[in-house]
Amino acid sequence: MTDPSVVVLLLAGALTGLVGAMLGLGGGVFLVPLLALGLGVPMRAAIAASLMSVVATASVSAAVRINRGLVNMRLGMVLEVATSIGGLAGGITAAYLTQRQLFLVFGLTLFTMGVLMGRRSGRRNVIDDLDTDPGVLGGTLQEGPVTYVYKLRRTPVALGASLAAGALSGLLGLGGGIVKVPILNTFCGIPIRVAAATSTFMIGVTAAASASSYLSRGDMVLPVTAAVCLGAIPGSLLGAKLTDRIDPKVLKVMMAVILLAVGLRMTVAAL
């Protein structure tokens, strides 16, 4: 194994933390390829380090965002049940799939989601009429002086996406935000910022569970993991602060571009 310096690992953590927190992701989807392909860290160690950095990033952005009323706690908890079941299923399924098959499925999924997200970038999920009943799993969103209402639509889709996100976390070592945020936004009527903040709430828990299994198996390289996490904390702090200043439309376009690029990259790596 080549031995990337602590400074390089700190920077890698900071960069993925920044982008991850801005988009409501943990950043694992960037960090795994960066560590494994870019810095020569063994794949399992890269996944383990990435999962811990997802925990750090998610905790930072949740702490920064919580008072802004964006996180929908009930929705998050309900979906986390599906995610935790998916995580167990993913761990079992992983034994039956080759790394190439995993990359292919994952790459194509991301690519599809990038296309969906790009097509939806001009639309909004909020309801202007404040008298609308948001239901148990909906809520309200304050944007400047205006308050909007949103409702959860297509609950089975939201649960299915969470299940799949959990499975991917168990399989590939991601937090799963990259699956949940686009689906919650595109199909389930959740505004992008609420989807991102609620996903952040969940991915920390999901990643902690997945990371524990890597830790139990002895796949975690402690100094690499520590350096990446220490970089991720300030990076995500900045990212979480920046996300409020960026137009939701820009966030959606950024997310679409990243999904397409990472999806393509993973598909190519599998072929």
Partner: protein
Amino acid sequence: MSEEPEPDPGRPWTMERAIEVALLGGLAVSGTLLAAGLAAGRADLLRFGIVALLLTPLMRVAVVTVAFFHERDRVFGLVSLWVLLLVGSSIGLAAWSLGRNLR
């Protein structure tokens, strides 16, 4: 950026404030342990730092669970409790195997 909105006087403030304290506390503890462990090259500090970081999101789930039961929202309380037990047992297992593998 505009000022932070004033927290509501009721229940959301209490729960969200507790979550914020739990998260920032967990990050401060684990960040300090990880930085010290890296600087001193001590694996034991790194291990404690990693476990502290793993427990950080779990503490948030614990706060939410207590808050739901306190509100007598039993359905969501049980949902949170399930998540807490599942993830908690997984982290507990990891911490136990770390302790066992100490050389």
